[in-house]
Amino acid sequence: MKDIARQKMSISVETMDLLNQQITLEAHASASYLAMASWCDQNAFTNSASFFYKQSEEEREHMMKIFQFINDCGGNAISPSVSNINHEFSSLEDIFESALDQEIMVTKSIHNIVKECKNNNDYNGENFLQWFVVEQLEEEKTLRDILDLFELMGRDGIALKLIDERIKTE
């Protein structure tokens, strides 16, 4: 019997399912960052707004990386539907804390897929996800550094404006 299936597809269906879930997670993260950017824009935190617009684009790029990988492997990438985006935040610090929580959730999910790839001897999937492991470390560090600014500079009045000015937009 010919191995037609293996000729057509080079990852396991379990890895494909997990990567499709990750696509949804990245799409949700992208949409959440857009909501955060909107809040910052409305509240005159212009650098923070630019930061979140950029983050939103990055999350979409991550999503597309996974999307293309699934299809390149002969799998079936599913276009995600996104709902339940929070648009209400109590403060600038609340936004950055929510962003960090979101990144931690994405990191955990990536680590879980890497673990599954290892268990299933899926070397293609494991190798592909290494880039995401490194990227998530960077993402978490950036947000932790910003949250440290609140500890250093305070949480009201001019301190918030000074923090916003220190947010890197490039």
């Binding site: 010919k2 299936a5 002969g74």
Partner: protein, 107 residues
């Protein structure tokens, strides 16, 4: 043709010559490419079977399934849906693309 998997109601065959699959639904046999088989798996796995039992959303327990880019349409009851899910799961194990170790017990 080689039999890949068989459940209570359905069977899946592979044709090396045509490089495709045949799903025997009992009253109808459907020819499917690998991509179409993968799409069927996605659809079958997306079915929320608990809605058949605990929800008013699907109180009649009926699933309408389109196959091969809407070339075929099937109406399945709860038992048939569960059977098709089992067939698909076992088929991908037979194809060597699933690492799920346990074979599903046919209904």
């Amino acid at each position: 043709m080689v039999l890949l998997s068989k459940s209570k109601y359905y069977s899946l065959y592979q044709s090396d010559q045509e490089k495709c699959y045949f799903i025997d639904f009992g009253n109808k046999t459907v020819k499917a490419s690998f991509c179409q088989l993968l799409a069927l798996r996605q659809k079958v796995n997306a079915i929320n079977i608990t809605n058949h039992f605990y929800s008013s959303e699907n109180k009649h327990g009926i699933e309408i399934l389109t196959l091969c880019n809407k070339e075929h349409l099937f109406v399945l009851n709860t038992s048939e849906t569960l059977d098709l899910q089992a067939l698909i799961k076992d088929s991908f194990i037979s194809l060597g693309l699933s690492t799920a170790s346990k074979k599903t017990v046919p209904l």
